[in-house]
């Protein structure tokens, strides 16, 4: 079977599927009609396809549950008029809780609360369970048998990761104290609001 045709079959399959396709499933497409096409050939064809997309609005992305073709982020601005709703925004509370689950899994709610210093809003847990980003992976063997949470493949898929190792490295604890303030933009935001308030007061 010609390389170009293999590439076209893979492209069609990835665009026809509604979820990422694992490489085994892609190899399986050829099993009856072109049994010579093995995993290596498929991976090479995917690379070729990715190269074809180099300058275009598409890209071949490998995520936890397989390969998918996705629209590049540089296109997001152009596509904005297509969406009737704004993309969901996730609160800092949710993202912090999700980070703790991702980096510290398996982790219980009270362990999350220990680090964050505030109670975990049950809605946050529910939202993440419903999105299937997290799941209950077991129960800690302490009184009350609290649920332990872990992340799912869907979580990795959503954030475009192949595995949990691809998460950005967790900051080292710097004994001299970390210097960069991640709140810089937040603080700017606060100041902006203050100025607004001052301005409206002067009116």
């Amino acid at each position: 079977m010609e390389d170009t045709e293999i590439k076209h079959v893979l492209e069609a399959a990835l665009l026809a599927a509604t979820k990422p396709l694992p490489v085994d499933k892609l190899v399986g497409l050829f099993v009856t009609k072109a049994p010579d096409v093995d995993k290596e050939i498929v991976l090479n064809a995917l690379t070729a396809l990715a190269n074809d997309y180099e300058d275009r609005g598409l890209q071949v992305q490998e995520v936890a549950s397989g390969f998918r073709i996705q629209i590049r982020s540089r296109m997001a601005g152009w596509l904005q008029p297509l969406w009737e709703e704004r993309p969901p925004r996730y609160s800092r509370a949710l993202l912090e809780t999700l980070s703790l689950i991702a980096y510290r899994q398996p982790i219980t709610r009270s362990e999350i609360e220990d680090v964050r210093g505030v109670a975990v809003n049950p809605n946050i847990i529910r939202t993440m369970l419903e999105r299937e980003w997290i799941r209950v992976v077991g129960h800690r063997d302490v009184p009350g048998k609290p649920e332990m949470f872990g992340t799912t493949k869907q979580f990795l898929d959503y954030f475009g990761l192949r595995s949990i190792d691809e998460l950005p490295a967790l900051a080292e604890i710097n004994e001299d104290g970390p210097q960069v303030s991640p709140q810089a933009d937040l603080i700017e935001g606060l100041e902006a609001v203050e100025e607004d308030a001052a301005a409206s007061e002067s009116n």
Binding site: L14, L15, A16, Q70, S73, L95
Partner: protein, 302 residues
């Protein structure tokens, strides 16, 4: 948060703290002034951003994710070394924030009050005279707070990094083309004979009724034949006795059919009707007879 908690907010005396604070001794670079000297620069008034106009309440609520976050903000804002927190100054500011929240009728979260208490507790421990004869270096009471703050900051950063990842719905979008001819074939699950027999063994071993019952091989084919005889009699059909036998099956087959019919008669599932002596016998499905189902079952299980 109820009104009763308000008095507790006055955890720290409102007047300026004593100059010879033990923390000042521990941190010579930060000589205590009425407020603070930060990195050699005296601060004589509260930072401007301590004032939160009521309009900004919503922003304020969204801005801080809890007491650690607020504390971290106060520390970072003044470029204070996280491992060497000037407690008096920070506690004072922290409590002022809480007072402010209170003034604007903000329903105070318990966690903020707990932190205020924690700060006051650390401060009081630092004010206590230290035993002189101590060999081991006493741990700074602030160390635990510093550890928690650093740990929290790591995950604050992690959340920020996570938010920066390219993600579906916001940055990238799955590309899908229409499939006009999509013939979905749902494959049916496979089972093996082994699984089937094991299932039977399980169900039998659970059932007292069946526990000692031996199913003879002959009985099996008889029972199946019972099914086929019943099917032949479907829809109130009357079938001539001899028509129910298939001579092609040979003697054994005929015997099985006969045994099946006897069993069906015994279970009163069929009726045999002979209109006149030596006339043809007709078989039909039984009607209108009341036989306890347990009775028929029992006869089989005995």
């Amino acid at each position: 948060m109820s009104e009763e908690t308000r008095p507790n907010l006055r955890l720290v005396p409102p007047e300026p703290p004593p100059v010879n604070d033990s923390e000042a001794a521990g941190a010579p670079a930060q000589r205590e002034m009425p407020f603070a000297v930060v990195e050699g620069e005296p601060i004589t008034e509260l930072p401007r951003d301590l004032y939160i106009p009521p309009h900004a309440l919503q922003v304020f609520l969204e801005a801080f994710e809890g007491p650690l976050d607020l504390l971290l903000y106060l520390i970072r804002r003044q470029n204070i070394d996280i491992l060497n927190i000037p407690l008096t100054q920070i506690t004072k500011q922290y409590v002022e924030y809480i007072d402010l929240m209170n003034e604007i009728q903000f329903e105070l979260a318990g966690e903020y009050l707990v932190m205020a208490a924690t700060l006051a507790e650390i401060k009081s421990r630092m004010l206590l005279p230290r035993p002189v004869s101590e060999d081991a270096e006493e741990e700074d009471p602030r160390a635990e707070l510093a550890r928690r703050l650093q740990e929290y900051e790591r995950f604050k950063k992690a959340a920020h990094d996570l938010d920066c990842l390219e993600r579906l719905e916001r940055d990238v979008f799955p590309a899908e083309a229409e499939v006009v001819e999509r013939r979905v074939v749902t494959k049916l699950p496979d089972i093996t004979l082994k699984e089937l027999v094991i299932a039977f063994q399980h169900v039998v071993s659970r059932s007292e009724n069946f526990a000692h019952h031996h199913i003879r091989r002959e009985a099996l084919s008889v029972r199946e034949r019972m099914s086929s005889v019943l099917v032949a009699l479907e829809n109130d059909q009357r079938v001539e006795f001899s028509k129910l036998f298939d001579p092609a099956e040979g003697k054994a087959g005929v015997t099985v059919t006969f045994l099946a019919m006897l069993e069906l008669l015994k279970e009163t599932l069929i009726e045999a009707v002979q209109a006149k002596p030596f006339g043809p016998i007709h078989i039909r499905a039984a009607k209108q007879q009341s036989v306890e189902p347990s009775e028929s079952s029992e006869s089989e299980r005995a």
